[in-house]
Symmetry: C2
Subunit: 103 residues, 2 copies
Amino acid sequence: MDKVLKNDHSEETLFEVAEFFKVLGDPTRIKIVSALFENGELCVNDIVNLVDVSRTAVSHQLRILKDKRIISYRKDGQMKFYHLDDAHVEVIVLLTITHLSHH
Amino acid sequence: MDKVLKNDHSEETLFEVAEFFKVLGDPTRIKIVSALFENGELCVNDIVNLVDVSRTAVSHQLRILKDKRIISYRKDGQMKFYHLDDAHVEVIVLLTITHLSHH
DNA sequence: TCAATATGTGAACACTTGCTCACTTATTAA
DNA sequence: TTAATAAGTGAGCAAGTGTTCACATATTGA
């Protein structure tokens, strides 16, 4: 009997997985995400100081992370406090750090 | 006492994490990786048939995955059998699929 | 109302990326 | 040795991406 090749995950699921990884696959965005799960909640200015990228560039990247539902924010006066939208993201990133440290 | 902002993970570690996610953040490469953990081991021709991308494009992507130590291969005659280099990758991808399914 | 502070937006541009095309290398069978 | 099969490589190019610059919006305090 011939070996049957499997392709269990649908094209669409895998495309979404790729989209998710692509968003985390940028140095500025992963630094923002890391800063957020280290600190819980940060305003834009705190993020700018922690990740050492221009304020404008941070704004653009925050939008991408927000559109992909990786982060969201709470508004307080003229400030916006961003936080991770889902604890899964932290688990995935930490697991990846563990994985890479074994190389 | 002022809140102290944390940035625990080094710039370099986070850069490597971003590099890793960037490699998985492409539809062709994630399809290859998925096909490999569904099937254990595949020759290039099997991969071409499963992911529905040209043979040449698959070759280019296999090289990127190999360079990043995500896959490796066993040579048998004129064929090369590729497989995942580390079980962590499967765990990370499956965890991500679970995460996305909760959205 | 006016100025200051906090954040966001859109266009432009250099840089990167993934594909195709033409060609090459390696192995096996005739 | 020749032809066929399996796989890889490098150049070229269209499409995508991340940053900067100039400008816009929103909120607060004087």
